[in-house]
Symmetry: C2
Subunit: 179 residues, 2 copies
DNA sequence: ACCTGAACACCGTTCAAGT
DNA sequence: ACCTGAACACCGTTCAAGT
């Protein structure tokens, strides 16, 4: 039996599909881009997508995983900065995914895979923000509350047009060390 | 020319369609309920909906207007209460519309009518919350900021499962007079 | 003015058939 | 294992035709 027959090829093709979907989902929207467009952008036929993904929602999860890991890698490579600037950086970095934010919330109610991804994302985000607020000197007993609140505010800013200064002062309200 | 030929009938039928749509959109979701189900629940044929609404998005706006006005009427009939309890009441009252919240954000990116409704909703919500925070004794220069922040937090709570106590303490964080 | 039956275009998904 | 052509089911929307 040929174990690992051509795992590289398989992953590469899967990746091409995900990359095509990422571009289209973030630019045009998830409901607005038919799988046929993803397929032609990836240079495959529509049905081929179903060899790599169970359905359209599973493809969205593939996109979500990819963009999350990319953003995390970029964040990790960054020099240390004050906590409120880190939050501001995250907000700016995630701005390009605002259409994914809305569709994840909308489809989490109907799709099991997206609901699972969404739960996992918040677990991760909460954990990271708890750590950030702890280092920023927030009181130990409302760390999780502050983290969840910050996530809601960032999501809110992502989903609503706003100017930089409004975002800045809104996030400052959440940081304990701010004046 | 028969002015007002049967305006009552027209409004009544329109209302039946909206009520049927409200039930199905809030319970099963907007994308998940075909117009055929709305139609049969309202006792009309699918195409009849198009006599009253330009398209499915316009019907959603009809539902949004209806539920908003109802919630506002209920709120107006309430006795005066401390500000944080009013926020908590609003959160509980709007909980049943959490599926509408997510879909409005998702479709505001693609649909003009929904985007307009969404903008108008936030203008109204911000104005009401500014007034509430003013009466609650918030500093005059960050009233709007606090209002927008409170709206984001309430939307965040609506879109994510949470227990009552978490919501309570999160909203308390926003109210200036809280300890 | 109001309603309907029938049709159209589109899209997610499946499946039998290929290599 | 991987890919495709063809078909299916569904759904939003339109339109000519009725009253």
């Amino acid at each position: 039996m040929p174990r690992n027959r051509r795992p590289q090829d398989r992953d590469e093709k899967r990746d091409e599909i995900v990359r095509a979907a990422e571009l289209l989902f973030t630019r045009d929207g998830f409901a607005e881009t038919p799988l046929s467009k993803v397929a032609s952008a990836a240079g495959v036929t529509t049905n081929t997508i179903y060899w790599y993904f169970a359905d359209k929602d599973a493809l969205l999860v593939g996109v979500l995983d990819r963009v999350l890991h990319e953003a995390l890698a970029e964040a990790a490579a960054l020099p240390d900065r004050p906590w409120d600037e880190q939050l501001l950086w995250a907000l700016a970095r995630l701005q390009r995914y605002h259409r994914l934010v809305t569709v994840v919330h909308a489809r989490a109610n109907s799709s099991k895979v997206i609901d699972s991804w969404h739960t996992g994302f918040h677990d991760l985000a909460d954990a990271m923000l708890v750590e950030g607020f702890r280092e920023a000197g927030a009181a130990e007993d409302d760390l999780l509350l502050r983290a969840q609140l910050a996530v809601f505010v960032i999501e809110g800013l992502l989903m609503h047009p706003h100017d930089e200064s409004a975002a800045r002062s809104m996030l400052r309200l959440l940081v304990p060390t701010a004046s």
